[in-house]
Symmetry: C2
Subunit: 344 residues, 2 copies
């Protein structure tokens, strides 16, 4: 069949690359037969993986390179010496128009640096942000920034709000997603200067954006808003704290269910229902964070994910590629800047 | 019997005051028969509650006032006009030496402001912090600051580390608690200036403190260190994000167990084991955050807690009062400042 969308993959990025990448392609291919893949990486390692999957031959193309970014490489180092790496070449194929999006499970800092350097930021966007999903009582919430920007001013936060809102509209399919600023209280006087000023801007400008006001950490899980905006330091720590406590809960439950024979039988009876909980909170379902604010779609997969998770990250990339994410962000920004909004 | 310790209570603070306060005293009295209580608040409302509990007569004294701090009162307002409030008078009884500690479930900002104004900070401490507990895979972890200081410099964080370490030694009974700085990565280059400089100070100074280095959000639940140090903005959001996700999990589980008859039977069989999980993660167990760094012990109870939670907060206050918390913090600080450490 002919392929309507091409996605570039950093086949050497992630803990179990390239095997997980090719397995992920295999899973994604079933759901996305219209997508073709450019696999950047070591041909000698990729060939045998594809040979075992002849059905992927027509949708996969290998682009050989023997360089790869390592997990411990510093972003600045990659910018200087990594131009032949699988990550760089994959990102570059997006800027050249060969691919509509890139997915990498490699080094986050390096992917951000390379994506920013090669793709450039959207006009009007000062700093790109990392956006991801989070399970909530009401479904899913978009969170950003998850770690790209340690310190942010009010304008950065406002830009994140706009970008996150468009992202939620496309990926969650919500017509008017509500947006909240993460803070330590819901009163106007709470928080630091950046969040207070950002709230004032979002409240007073004709952004066509459903601004809820401040939200607190517990509002993330409650699903109080569709988009939670914060600086990258806070967002990363909120996300990882929540992940840690979810892991703690799972462990306590596992211990409880294996603590006696009766509890074990109880577990077996409740197992189908409990598997649903596991599915709802499965981190692989939420894999695929977008580097938002660039002239091109660059998706970060968790480095330790398996094929199911990697296939989900591919799904996020494909969804964004077909819905013109960046065009919609640009038009929102134009509206903001043409009113007497903040200057980037 | 004679009472060796006196604890002052803001009997009008909290969502269900004064009823929850008196019920909390009732529960605490069983475990702490040596503690006497000064109840600051409305005599007309407190009398009937105590009359129903004649066994508390000998350990409880009412100090009447008809003023009380409200939840929405601003700290500055309370400082100007709240000198006759139950909160203020309770804190004052500590500074006067009448009580060894104060517990309030009222307005957090107001309690911090009043405690700081009335009790003053310890010599060498620039800013007090709010310290609390968190359940982990290994037991419990002390976290601070949970929201007193929105922005912190490196010296503030170092002081929090010292105070938190002494707090953990007393309340968790660990001889050499390990201390970690909350950050978005474990590498030296990660994070903002404050955490990086604080790490350098903690690493290089002869503090007799087991400094682990940076920890990430997921390390909180994992129990990687005994004390997690952060600024109040990040700490508050980490704590509440984790609380939110714990609630989400509970809800998903409840839904799962009631989704079918078989699952319900499974639940009944596993119930005793599941109750243990509930107990291990019961927020009431972790109630009682200390305003750390003051010349006196001021404990904040969650405003929405019940009598069990309030009794736990009283337990924290009693424990700290009998172990000379502040003397031990002062001696650690003297050691720090006498070496060429940072100047407050």
């Amino acid at each position: 069949m002919s392929h309507s969308t091409t996605i570039a993959l950093d086949a050497m990025g992630g803990d179990d690359a390239p095997a997980v990448v090719v397995e992920g392609v295999d899973l994604a291919h079933v759901r996305l037969p219209q997508v073709a893949f450019l696999l950047f990486g070591d041909q000698a390692r990729l060939e045998p993986l594809l040979e075992r999957r002849p059905h992927l031959r027509s949708c996969c193309q290998i682009r050989h390179t023997d360089q790869a970014v390592k997990g411990e490489d510093k972003p600045s180092q990659v910018l200087r010496q990594g131009r032949q790496s699988s990550m760089w070449l994959a990102v570059e194929s997006v800027s050249r128009g060969e691919a509509a999006a890139v997915v990498s499970a490699g080094n986050t800092g390096a992917l951000m640096a390379v994506s920013k350097f090669v793709l450039r930021t959207l006009p009007g966007i000062d700093r790109p942000a990392i956006a991801g999903f989070f399970p909530t009582e009401r479904g899913e919430t978009v969170m950003l920034d998850l770690g790209a920007n340690v310190e942010c001013n009010a304008n950065n936060l406002v830009e994140f709000a706009i970008m996150g809102e468009v992202f939620a509209r496309i990926l969650l399919g919500i017509e008017q997603p509500s947006v909240g600023l993460l803070n330590i209280g819901s009163e106007d006087v709470k928080g630091n200067d950046a969040v207070r000023s950002a709230a004032a801007i979002l409240r007073d400008h004709p952004l066509d954006l459903k601004f809820h006001g401040f939200v607190e950490g517990n509002d993330i899980g409650a699903g109080t808003v569709d988009v939670v905006v914060s600086d990258g330091f806070t967002g990363n720590i909120a996300l990882k704290s929540a992940e840690g406590i979810a892991k703690l809960y799972s462990r306590f439950l596992r211990e409880a269910f294996s603590s006696s024979w009766v509890a074990r039988i109880g577990y077996l009876l409740a197992k189908p229902a409990l598997l649903k909980v596991k599915m709802r909170t499965d981190p692989r379902r939420y894999n695929g964070a977008l580097l938002l604010g660039l002239n091109g779609i660059s998706v970060k997969s968790h480095g330790g994910t398996d094929a199911v998770g990697f296939a989900n990250a591919i799904g996020v990339a494909a969804e964004l590629a077909t819905h013109g994410l960046n065009e919609r962000i640009k038009s929102e920004l134009t509206r903001l800047k043409s009113s007497d909004g903040p200057q980037a």
